[in-house]
């Protein structure tokens, strides 16, 4: 049996960390911790991108890793923290979500994602193909998080962490997208975040809370 090179083991480890963090976010009820988990996920993503860049000598991946580090570990969590401070929703705790059930659904999703990714991973010739299933699983877990959350900020964090999963998928399947596309995506995420910030204040001003139950008036037959 051939031994697996160290960097490959590291990437697998980071992939596992990524998945674990996705589960942790699914279970986390406090907003502030959620942001920290999101930043940690961004950090794991940046590290794994950096390692892939080093191992495969893809210079543009260093840029991509740097971008992830700045945006997802620095700017976005900072923006979210600031927003929470200004909105004063620090102690917002999510009520009434059945965490054990959500976790069980999450496990089913992971199995499904691995099955879905298997035929594609077989076709990939990248060294990181084994992690494609994990990438897909974390996309689906973030998706689940967006569905189960009732408050605005956790939904947005779910959305951002879905973006993380997609980035990870791009790195593990193809060593990253072309630079111009990656820059565009990063710009969209950042602008989207800023717009959401404005938006949160509008919601808050209008309803005095960020609970999305106020946003369920538009239905059919009304």
């Amino acid at each position: 049996m051939t031994s697996i090179p160290l960097w490959s083991q590291l990437i697998n480890l980071l992939a596992a960390v990524l998945l674990l963090l996705a589960f942790a976010m699914l279970a986390q009820r406090r907003v502030l911790t959620l942001i920290d988990l999101f930043a940690a996920q961004g950090f794991a993503l940046a590290c794994s991108t950096g390692i892939v860049a080093f191992a495969t000598h893809q210079p543009h991946l260093y840029w991509s890793a740097g971008l992830t580090l700045v945006l997802k570990v620095g700017v976005l969590p900072w923006l979210l923290h600031r927003m929470i401070e200004r909105l004063d929703v620090r102690w917002d705790v999510e009520g009434l979500i059945n965490i054990p059930t959500t976790m069980l659904i999450g496990i089913v999703l992971v199995v499904f994602a691995f099955n879905l990714a298997f035929p594609i991973a077989q076709l990939a010739n990248t060294v990181t193909r084994a992690t494609l299933g994990i990438a897909m699983a974390s996309v689906m877990l973030s998706f689940l998080m967006m569905i189960t959350r009732r408050k605005a900020i956790p939904q947005v964090i779910g959305f951002l962490s879905m973006e993380n999963g997609l980035f990870f998928a791009a790195t593990s399947a193809t060593y990253g997208m072309p630079m111009v596309v990656e820059l565009g995506i990063a710009l969209d995420v950042l602008v989207g975040m800023l717009i959401l910030g404005v938006f949160f204040f509008q919601i808050r001003e209008q309803f005095d809370s960020l609970d999305l139950k106020h946003l369920e008036k538009l239905k059919e037959n009304e």
Binding site: L166, A169, F199
Partner: protein, 483 residues
């Protein structure tokens, strides 16, 4: 090359200019002139492409062929007429106290950004940039939908952001898969996402990956097209945003999203050599037509009514492209054009009708024709046209689609006919009392902008009676491209 830069540069510069000049009284005029210049640049580009054929520009980053150039021209045209309409419309909104000067600055600037992103999505050759541009278009319209800051508009904008955000994330995954398949043949780097390159090697792309990619791309971009069952955001966003925004959402953005789907379909079909992509598109299209038609009769809000009608028509077009072949694709392109013109004209008329009545509820809008005959006739003609009455252009395209369906996919015909019949009954019975009968509406404080409505209706009428040979030739070339 220069034309492409102008088409993209003018709205972008216009957005900056309007952000800076913002609250001045002549800002609406700047908005109109920027859109007018964009239209001129688009016309120059169109002439160029007609005389010289498809072109690649700027390191293959931009690509113009008969398929996208007609959408560019349409987008610039409807953008221009919407800007003309928006000038008096927004003046009346201000007189009614629904917007402030600061909001209007945001509105004008975002309107231009929105135009820019749509044109970028159409002109780019890079499937990744296409994604980026469509996401940016979502972001710009989120701010436009929530312009009035009412609880309902905030809810609509939030729903729009989250649903389209999730949808477009699926499309990003599809794009990653596409790149994954292409990178093996074309090598890593920017080249592997260029549509022209992909189109060249589409026969050798890995079919398993592409079929999975297409599912994600169709679901993702399909959310933005408003295909059922992912259409939930569409009626809310249309009903709660300002009417010029509803007009461009229905008339333009849905087309651009569908354009993205069709570009992907061409690649996937070339790779798979089966009817998988066709069947998927036909299925989603048919479902949207049927679902929307049956929901139409339950609507009470006039803007929601026509939003559902947009879902129905997008379904018809998706179905037509799904069937494929020279006739159906031709009809799909024609339907894209006439739907876009008719629906924006309807929204213009509806916008003024709502202002006159002071409510969006159809029960409150009665007898438009006695108080302002122009608005009444505009709405009546628009509704007849969108329902597929001859001699309007919608009749011609729907007729072609139906006859192709009878010929190739007979099973779908009864469903289509049923849906069209139900839609007709629902819309007609609701529009008729709004136009005729005892009146309940007031006069508007400023004259309405009805010229764009009648210009659009005139064009739709012309397309029903006679399609200029240049345009027909164009459609044929584009249809051949789509397959």
């Amino acid at each position: 090359m220069l034309e492409i830069l102008l088409v993209l540069g003018i709205p972008l510069a216009g957005a900056l200019l309007l952000a800076a000049a913002g609250e001045r009284a002549h800002a609406p005029m700047i908005n109109v002139s920027v859109c007018g210049l964009t239209l001129l640049a688009a016309a120059a580009l169109t002439v160029r492409v007609i005389s010289e054929g498809p072109m690649l520009a700027l390191n293959k980053l931009f690509f113009v062929d008969p398929f996208n150039v007609f959408l560019v021209a349409l987008t610039a045209f409807v953008g221009f007429t919407t800007a003309i309409f928006s000038h008096p419309y927004m003046r009346i909104e201000r007189a009614h106290g629904r917007v402030t000067a600061g909001r209007l600055r945001l509105y004008h600037s975002m309107f231009q950004i929105f135009n820019f992103t749509m044109l970028l999505a159409l002109l780019t050759n890079n499937m990744g940039i296409l994604w980026v541009a469509l996401e940016a278009a979502t972001l710009a319209t989120v701010l436009l939908v929530s312009l009035y800051r009412t609880p309902e508009s905030l809810e609509a904008a939030w729903k729009y952001f989250i649903l389209c955000g999730v949808g477009i994330a699926q499309a990003l995954f599809g794009t990653i898969l596409l790149y994954f398949a292409a990178e093996k043949l074309l090598g890593a780097g920017g080249g592997a996402l260029l549509w022209t390159e992909l189109n060249g090697v589409k026969g050798d792309l890995e079919p398993t990956v592409l079929s999975l990619a297409f599912v994600f791309l169709l679901v993702g971009y399909g959310t933005k097209v408003g295909l059922a069952p992912l259409h939930n955001w569409l009626p809310d966003a249309h009903a709660e945003g300002p009417t010029p925004v509803s007009a461009v959402l229905s008339g333009l953005l849905l087309n651009v999203a569908l354009y993205a789907v069709v570009r992907c379909k061409v690649l996937v079909e070339g790779s798979l050599q089966t009817s998988f992509a066709k069947e998927l598109m036909m299925g989603f299209g048919l479902l949207s037509v049927v679902v929307a038609a049956f929901l139409l009769s339950r609507q009470k809000d006039v803007k929601r009514l026509f939003a559902y009608s947009s879902i129905e028509h997008m379904g018809i077009i998706t179905f037509a492209f799904g069937m494929g072949g020279p006739v159906a694709s031709f009809a799909g392109l024609l339907h894209m054009t006439v739907h876009s013109l008719t629906k924006s004209a309807i929204f213009f008329a509806v916008g003024h009708a709502v202002q006159a009545a002071g409510t969006q509820m159809m029960d409150g809008i009665r007898g438009l024709i006695t108080v302002s005959p122009m608005i009444g006739w505009g709405l009546a003609l628009g509704a007849l046209a969108i329902l597929g009455m001859p001699p309007f252009g919608v009749f011609a395209s729907e007729f072609l689609i139906l006859t192709t369906a009878i010929h190739d996919h007979a099973w779908a015909t009864p469903l289509l006919l049923l849906a069209l019949g139900v839609a007709f009954a629902a819309v007609f019975s609701k529009v008729q009392p709004m136009v005729f009968g005892e009146t309940s509406v007031r006069r508007l404080p400023h004259p309405p902008a009805m010229t764009p409505v009648f210009v659009h209706m005139g064009l739709v009428l012309m397309l029903g009676l006679w399609i200029p040979p240049v345009l027909a030739d164009w459609y044929r070339q584009a249809a051949r491209l789509i397959g």
